[in-house]
């Protein structure tokens, strides 16, 4: 028991130390490395909170993909950094914002300490209804069945964000290809790593998706791993980013929300309500949704990271 507690305290202190270092670090590159370390430590915190599904998501999206995204931006903004470092705000503003931040942190901490006891929970409800879907992982049940509307709208948000990113392209590049960050001359080793890791990563991604039915895992985590592998191949220069005007690409992008909508409307037509799954085939329908969703998530996340197209489409 005491070892447990000491380990928790150690992880928490480490998270905070890295967080503080990241905020005060001078160079952007250092700050992003600090942020990725922060994310991986928060993954350990989620593990200790017995939230394995969330830990998987944090490791994949919160740390890995976000880190790569910020790093790509930092590299492009590099020429700007030294010139603008003088623009730190004055001491008065910094003290005021430190006070504000401390107040917010103290309020949140007080809220943690004053949480009602016994805690309100929906776990019994989730357990009672888990028989309806035939899945063993309660988090997947909530995501795909009990709160399916949230998940469907989230897919729409992803596609909208991608539309937003693409709309920042220059006019002449519209329909062209994005250029994700690429190794200039580190050629061989990057290519080797991509060739080695990608097949393994695809297997792991599908495995995590498959496990998601009964154990921690699922479409988000699996899709993120697939996205990372695609990006790795593009970063190593082994594959080009697709032109965003490609019809097949766009079909994959809308497949996830579309399947969700079709199932939802079918539920309205044949059954009780929007997104009501057929009672006898709930598991099969959910697995189809998850599979299509994984593909859409993988492609959307990878393209979000690749940024707006900046090369004209080659004929």
């Amino acid at each position: 028991m005491t070892i447990d507690f000491a380990l928790d305290c150690g992880i928490a202190l480490l998270v905070l130390a890295v967080a503080g270092w990241t905020i005060v670090a001078r160079a952007s590159f250092a700050a992003v490395v600090g942020f990725v370390s922060f994310g991986l430590l928060v993954t350990l915190a989620w593990v200790r909170l017995a939230a394995i599904d969330v830990a998987l998501t944090e490791a994949a999206i919160g740390s890995g993909l976000t880190g790569a995204l910020l790093l790509g931006a930092a590299a492009r903004l590099r020429s700007n950094e030294t010139a603008k470092q003088a623009e730190v705000p004055g001491a008065a503003l910094r003290i005021a914002s430190a006070l504000l931040a401390a107040t917010v942190a103290a309020t949140l901490a007080a809220a943690v300490l004053l949480l009602p006891d016994p805690a309100p929970t929906l776990a019994p409800a989730a357990a009672a209804n888990s028989g309806a879907t035939g899945l063993g992982n309660p988090v997947t049940n909530v995501l795909i069945a009990f709160r399916a509307m949230d998940t469907m709208l989230e897919k729409v948000v992803l596609v909208l964000a991608l539309v937003g990113v693409w709309s920042l392209a220059a006019d002449r590049c519209w329909g062209g290809m994005p250029s994700p960050p690429r190794g200039a001359d580190s050629g061989d080793a990057t290519a080797f790593l991509a060739q080695l890791l990608t097949p393994l990563g695809i297997v792991v991604g599908i495995y995590i998706l498959w496990e998601g039915a009964d154990h921690p895992g699922g479409a988000f985590q699996g899709g993120t791993i697939l996205a990372a592998m695609w990006l790795l191949v593009m970063m190593a220069g082994l594959a080009k980013a697709p032109a965003i005007s490609r019809r097949s690409l766009r079909l994959v992008l809308i497949a996830g929300p579309a399947v969700f909508l079709v199932v939802g409307l079918a539920g309205l037509w044949f059954g009780a309500a929007f997104l009501a799954y057929p009672v006898d085939h709930a598991k099969a329908v959910i697995l189809v949704i998850e599979f299509v969703m994984t593909l859409t998530i993988a492609v959307t996340l990878a393209l979000l990271l690749a940024g707006p197209p900046d090369r004209e489409a080659s004929p």
Binding site: S186, A189, T190, F192, L193, L196, L197
Partner: protein, 97 residues
Amino acid sequence: MSILLDIFTVVAVTAGAFFFLAGTVGLLRFPDPLTRLHALSKADNLGVGLIVLGLLPRAAGPIGALKLIAVWLLVQAAGATVSQLIARAARRGMSQP
């Protein structure tokens, strides 16, 4: 039998932890990025290997053991290649002041 296996686990995990200690000491003591990388990648990979070895008797059946070995192989392969990448970056960084 189970006591023997437990002793095996304790010995292997302790040895693995020792190599993590050695890697950290090397990281702290060595003078330049290339030697630090050497300490980190060599010692820590050995540490993971020994810890996986120690945990094998406790794995959930042959499938669980295979998964542990797969994790170890993945760490080995990725670690070796990533070290190579970082070493190149370090060399480039040193050649231009």
